[in-house]
C-alpha cells in the first residue's frame, strides 16, 4: 500500500454520522449542482462519423486552449470540471503540452477505435487447414512470429507504463496511448497464434532485439520514449510488416500483416506529429532528442541485423536454403534493410530534423550498405 488515505473513514465519527443522517432524514447537500462550469451544446460535425472528441473541442472543455504548462490540475478531475479543495495530487510526470501533444491526436484515437479488429475472428484461420509449408519455410515463419511476439510484448508495456504519468488534462493523448497498448496486445496475440499454427511451435528468443527493445522502456521523458518507440522502432516495424506481407507464404499471413500494418502506421503517424510538435514548441528538446536518437538508432541497427531475424527473412525471401535461394534472399532482404533506413531519415526530414543525416552514425551505415549493395549488383 504505497498510498494511504489521509483519513480512516470507517473510524471517523463525523463522516459516519453524516452518512447515517442522510439516510435517516433524506436531507441533501446538492452543492455540486452549483458547479461553476460551462454549458455547451456539442454537435456532430459529420453524422456519418458520429460525435467525436473534435466535436467537443469547445470552450473550457476543448483542447485548443490547453496552456503549454498545465498548473491548475494535477488530479484526475476531467478537463473543464470544477476542482474543489481536497482532490489529491496524482503526481503526473508530464504536464507540459509540447512534451506529448500532436496535431490531430484526437483523430488518431477515433481512427484507432473505429479500426479495431479481432485476432480470433477476423483472421481466416480455417484456411490454414491442410497447409503444410516446407520445413525451412515453416521454421523461418515461426522464427519471425516468435521475434514479433517479443517485440509486441515490449510495445504493449511501453505505452502502458507512461499512461498514469500523463496529466489527465491531456485526455485525448491518454486515450490514444491506451488504444496503442490494446493494439500491441492484439499483435502479440496474433503472432503467437500464427507461430503455434505453423506446426513447428515457437522458435528462439532474440537477445539482441530484447536489448534493443528494453531501451524503449527506459526513456527519461515521454518525447524520448515517443521518438524511440513511435518513430524509430515502429517506423522500422512498419516497413518490416509491409515486407513480411510481401513475403507471406499464405493469404492468411497476408491478411495478418495487412491488419497489423494499419495499427503500426497509425502509431507512426502520431509519432511524426508529436515529433513535429515538440521540435516546434519546445526547441530546447532538440539536442536531447538527438542524443536519444543516437542510442535508439544504434540499437535499432543491431536489432535489424540480428542473425535470428535476418536469416529467417533470407529464407522466406529466397524460398529455401539452396545457394540460389540464399542469393536471392540476401538480395531482397538487403533491399528491405536499406528501405527501412531510407524511410527513417525521410520521416525525420519531414518532421523538421533534416540535420540528422549529418550527425547520425546510422546514416553512415546506410550509405555504406547502399554502396555495398550496388557493388554486389543489388538494385535499389
Amino acid at each position: 500500500m504505497a498510498y494511504l488515505s489521509t483519513t480512516n473513514f470507517t473510524e471517523d465519527k463525523d463522516f459516519i454520522d453524516k452518512w447515517l443522517y442522510t439516510i435517516r432524514t433524506g436531507e441533501m447537500d446538492l452543492s455540486w449542482m452549483k458547479a461553476a462550469t460551462e454549458k455547451i451544446s456539442p454537435e456532430e460535425a459529420n453524422p456519418r462519423r458520429g460525435l467525436t472528441y473534435r466535436d467537443l473541442n469547445l470552450g473550457t472543455y476543448g483542447y485548443t486552449d490547453i496552456p503549454e504548462k498545465v498548473r491548475n490540475n494535477r488530479s484526475y478531475a476531467p478537463r473543464g470540471a470544477e476542482i474543489p479543495e481536497g482532490v489529491p495530487d496524482a503526481q503526473p510526470w508530464v504536464s507540459r503540452k509540447s512534451e506529448l501533444w500532436a496535431f490531430n491526436t484526437e483523430s488518431y484515437y477515433e481512427e484507432a477505435v473505429s479500426r479495431q479488429w479481432n485476432a480470433t475472428t477476423d483472421i481466416p484461420w480455417g484456411r490454414l487447414d491442410g497447409v503444410e509449408l516446407p520445413e525451412v519455410t515453416g521454421k523461418a515463419l515461426s522464427q519471425l512470429m516468435t521475434f514479433l511476439t517479443e517485440v509486441e510484448m515490449i510495445a504493449t508495456d511501453t505505452p502502458a507504463m507512461w499512461l498514469p504519468r500523463l496529466n489527465p488534462d491531456f485526455i485525448e493523448v491518454r486515450a490514444f496511448i491506451a488504444s496503442q497498448a490494446m493494439d500491441e496486445a492484439r499483435h502479440a496475440e496474433v503472432f503467437r497464434k500464427r507461430a503455434l499454427t505453423t506446426g513447428w511451435g515457437l522458435m528462439q528468443a532474440s537477445p539482441i532485439n530484447e536489448m534493443a527493445l528494453k531501451h524503449l522502456r527506459d526513456a527519461d521523458s515521454f518525447s524520448e520514449m515517443s521518438v524511440a518507440l513511435h518513430l524509430v522502432a515502429e517506423g522500422n516495424v512498419l516497413t518490416l510488416f509491409r515486407f513480411s506481407e510481401y513475403l507471406s507464404p499464405t493469404d492468411v499471413d497476408k491478411k495478418i500483416f495487412r491488419l497489423v500494418m494499419q495499427d503500426e502506421a497509425r502509431h507512426v503517424g502520431y509519432g511524426m506529429q508529436h515529433f513535429k510538435y515538440v521540435l516546434g514548441h519546445f526547441p530546447e528538446k532538440r539536442e536531447v532528442l538527438h542524443a536519444h536518437l543516437d542510442e535508439a538508432e544504434n540499437i535499432s541497427f543491431a536489432g535489424a541485423a540480428a542473425t535470428e531475424l535476418t536469416e529467417a527473412f533470407i529464407i522466406l525471401a529466397g524460398g529455401g536454403l539452396k545457394k540460389e535461394n540464399i542469393e536471392q534472399g540476401i538480395r531482397i532482404t538487403t533491399q528491405f534493410n536499406l528501405k527501412q533506413m531510407q524511410e527513417h531519415f525521410e520521416r525525420l526530414d519531414k518532421c523538421g530534423m533534416p540535420e540528422r543525416r549529418e550527425r547520425s552514425k546510422l546514416y553512415v551505415m546506410y550509405e555504406m550498405g547502399r554502396a555495398a549493395a550496388e557493388n554486389a549488383g543489388i538494385k535499389l
Binding site: 459529420n46 456519418r48 477515433e110 479500426r115 515486407f243 493469404d251 511524426m272 525521410e346 520521416r347
Partner: protein, 146 residues
C-alpha cells in the same frame, strides 16, 4: 454492360459497390485519405484522384496530372499491371497473394507508390485493408480494357 478501365466510370462503379457493402466497410473503420491512381498507356497516363471520407468514397475525378502535394500518395503503374490485377481479382473474388496492392507495389517493380510527405505515404498502410477491399470489389464488375 462492361465498364471500361481506366475510366471515372470504373471508380464510380466501385464507389457504388462500396456503398452497397456498407456493413463491411463500417466494420473496417474510418478511411480518411485522398490518393491518386495513375495508369500508364503507351507512354501517357490517365490520372484519377479518389477522395475517401469516413466509410465512403466521396469523390472521383480524372485530372491531367497528379499534384503530389494535394494527395497523400499516388499508386502508378502500367495498364497491363492494373489489368492483370483486376482480372486476378475477378477470377478469385479477391486479389490472390501475388496480386494485392502491397505485393505489387512493395519494391516498385510492378506498381509504384510515390509521395511528397512520408506521413501521407503511411496512410496507404493505415487504411490498407479498406483500400484492398475497395479494389477487391472489382470482382463484382464486368470490366473491359481499352
Amino acid at each position: 454492360m462492361a465498364i471500361s478501365f481506366p475510366s471515372t466510370e470504373y471508380f464510380e462503379a466501385l464507389k457504388a459497390q462500396m456503398a452497397a457493402n456498407e456493413e463491411k466497410f463500417r466494420r473496417l473503420g474510418f478511411i480518411d485519405t485522398t490518393f491518386g491512381v495513375s495508369v500508364g498507356i503507351n507512354g501517357k497516363a490517365r490520372n484519377f484522384v479518389l477522395e475517401f471520407e469516413v466509410f465512403d468514397l466521396k469523390n472521383v475525378s480524372e485530372v491531367p496530372a497528379i499534384d503530389l502535394k494535394k494527395v497523400d500518395f499516388q499508386i502508378k503503374g502500367d495498364s497491363q499491371v492494373w489489368r492483370e490485377m483486376i482480372e486476378n481479382i475477378r477470377r478469385n473474388g479477391e486479389a490472390d497473394s501475388a496480386h494485392d496492392i502491397n505485393t505489387l507495389a512493395h519494391f516498385g517493380e510492378r506498381l509504384k507508390v510515390v509521395y511528397d510527405d512520408p506521413d501521407g505515404h503511411d496512410k496507404l498502410y493505415r487504411f490498407m485493408e479498406s483500400i484492398q477491399e475497395f479494389f477487391d470489389l472489382s470482382s463484382k464488375l464486368e470490366v473491359s480494357f481499352n
